[in-house]
């Protein structure tokens, strides 16, 4: 197996913190097994950096099985690397060829400031979620399962939207650094279901308001987000969010009477 190992050149973005400008540093990654994941390859590089008493490359990771939304990395012009519908931790080194130069950048967006190297602060997503990405549930007895009938098509569609792991690849891929795919998935997953109806229109308004406050760009429907999303969230969600937002803003104000304070 030894002869199948790969020698790679990495161009990695190194940045001390949000205040300091960053730069690319080139590293050699030799003897990399094609069966390693991309993050394991970085672990190997970091081991050697630590042995040389150098600062290891900082990058986000957690579950390493494609479900937590923690890993990021903009690899050779693609968020989560060149393969479709996977996260960086699911990307294997056999995707690359021996001797290849791999450029690794952080998500780049004003709303995602760099914490260090390749790790960015995605708490803007948390604040958007807190602004309206919830439903109100009464305490008390546990309701019967399947008490509320939901058509399968709606259940499937809501579930598809709910698969969003909030990794931020949509923002990274978008030429405008727009977060509308993420926000629309969160608006849709609740807004499509009966349990999400009470807050449906206030949710769309407050989540969009928070999204704007965080400084994300505006969607121009290029569909780059949809193509790069590891969970294949579709652009239809954005149309659905727009629909809820415009309905809320233009036709469904809470106070409909003129003198209702």
């Amino acid at each position: 197996m030894e002869q199948n190992n790969m020698n790679l050149t990495l161009k990695v973005w190194r940045q001390k913190n949000a205040q300091t400008p960053g730069k690319f540093v080139t590293y050699k990654a030799d003897g990399i097994s094609p069966d390693m994941s991309f993050l394991e390859m970085l672990d190997v590089v970091n081991e050697s950096l630590i042995h040389k008493n150098e600062e290891p490359i900082h990058f986000d990771h957690d579950c390493r099985e494609g479900i937590c939304g923690m890993c990021s990395l903009y690899i050779n012009g693609h968020p989560h690397g060149p393969k479709r519908a996977i996260t960086t931790c699911q990307l294997h080194m056999r995707t690359f060829h021996d001797g290849e130069t791999i450029t690794i950048e952080p998500w780049r967006a004003a709303a995602f400031p760099v914490i260090k190297d390749l790790a960015v602060d995605r708490s803007a997503f948390d604040r958007i979620q807190q602004a309206g990405g919830y439903i109100s549930v009464n305490t008390g007895g546990v309701p019967d399962a399947n008490e509320i009938a939901i058509p399968k098509v709606i259940a499937d569609e809501a579930f598809n939207s709910a698969t969003c792991i909030g990794c931020g690849a949509c923002v990274a891929a978008c030429k405008n650094a727009s977060a509308m795919l993420f926000v629309s998935a969160k608006v849709s997953q609740l807004g499509m279901l009966p349990q999400g109806q009470p807050e449906r229109y206030s949710r769309a308004q407050s989540m969009v308001a928070q999204m704007d406050a965080e400084g994300f760009g505006n969607c121009t429907n290029t569909r780059a987000c949809e193509a790069e999303c590891p969970k294949e969230i579709t652009l239809t969600n954005i149309a659905r969010m727009n629909n809820d937002y415009f309905s809320a803003k233009l036709f469904r104000e809470e106070h409909i009477h003129e003198n209702n304070g």
């Binding site: 161009k11 973005w13 960053g22 690319f24 903009y74 050779n76 012009g77 693609h78 060149p82 450029t103 950048e105 780049r108 967006a109 004003a110 709303a111 891929a173 030429k175 405008n176 650094a177 727009s178 509308m180 969009v208 308001a209 999204m211 704007d212 400084g215 994300f216 760009g217 505006n218 969607c219 121009t220 429907n221 290029t222 569909r223 780059a224 193509a227 790069e228 652009l235 239809t236 954005i238 149309a239 659905r240 969010m241 727009n242 629909n243 809820d244 937002y245 415009f246 803003k249 233009l250 104000e253």
Partner: protein
């Protein structure tokens, strides 16, 4: 009022304005093309000149025309505002350009729009401003014998500078005296570089609308399995192929005709 202001200042509100003004401009294109197809009638410009006269002297059309100019200005200003916001949303760019399968036109709407704005300025200066606000356009007199339906054409020199177009009937001969915009068309389109500008602008409008028409519907939130293919079909074939081709054919045909004379 402030609630409306807040709505239209939000990211989605600005996109809504882009979509609505854009779609209004699209409907105008159909009307504009319908009228201009009269250029292909071989009648010494009679029907085209009468049509141009009608457009500038029928009050409802004049009102819609000013609404149209407003839409062009608003669409351009909002495009600029949104582009600046989008640029600011990614202060540090990527070293490797995104390789998502987003179409070229979807990523270059601003460039295409700037070409079109330049074209509209040139076009309105030569055909709208000169026609309405100067005396540079000469007059033609069309005499139609109502018995035989034969039309003769001659140059007409108005008695005073503020002469208004007239239609009168004498001895069973209808006399129409109108500004000869058709002569402007003939002279303008006998110039090769002018023809090239027009044809290139029609190329720009084709790509702009290939993305823009369906994108406007997405922004409005009108996406559905049943009618989105219809919208995409109309956007592609009517707005990106048929309309630009027919418009581009006008300068080309007039240029070729000018070569023969």
């Amino acid at each position: 009022m402030s609630e409306f202001k807040q709505t239209f200042n939000s990211s989605l509100g600005k996109k809504l304005i882009m979509a609505l003004t854009g779609l209004f401009l699209c409907t105008f294109l159909i009307v504009h093309l319908g009228g201009n197809l009269l250029l292909f009638r071989n009648d010494n410009g009679y029907s085209f000149n009468v049509y141009a006269n009608f457009l500038t002297h029928f009050p409802p059309i004049e009102v819609i025309a000013y609404l149209l100019y407003l839409c062009i200005i608003v669409h351009s200003i909002y495009a600029l505002v949104l582009t600046i916001k989008n640029r600011r949303s990614r202060p540090v760019g990527y070293a490797v350009v995104n390789k998502s399968p987003a179409t070229w036109q979807s990523k270059n709407m601003g460039l295409l729009g700037a070409i079109l704005l330049f074209f509209i300025v040139v076009h309105m200066r030569d055909f709208w401003f000169r026609y309405k606000f100067t005396n540079e356009v000469t007059y033609k007199e069309y005499r139609t014998d109502l018995a035989t339906n034969q039309t003769t054409v001659a140059d007409y020199v108005p008695v005073s500078a503020d002469f208004e177009p007239t239609v009168s009937t004498e001895n069973n001969v209808e006399i129409v005296r109108v500004k000869d915009l058709h002569a402007n068309v003939v002279t303008s389109f006998s110039c090769l570089w002018y023809v090239i500008i027009y044809v290139l602008a029609m190329g720009a409008i084709a790509f702009h609308l290939k993305h823009g028409f369906q994108s406007a519907f997405r922004t409005l939130g009108w996406v559905h399995r049943k009618y989105t293919p219809v919208v995409e079909f109309i956007g592609t074939w009517l707005f990106a192929v048929i309309i630009p081709c027919l418009f581009a054919l006008m300068p080309i045909v007039y240029y070729i005709t000018s070569l023969k004379n």
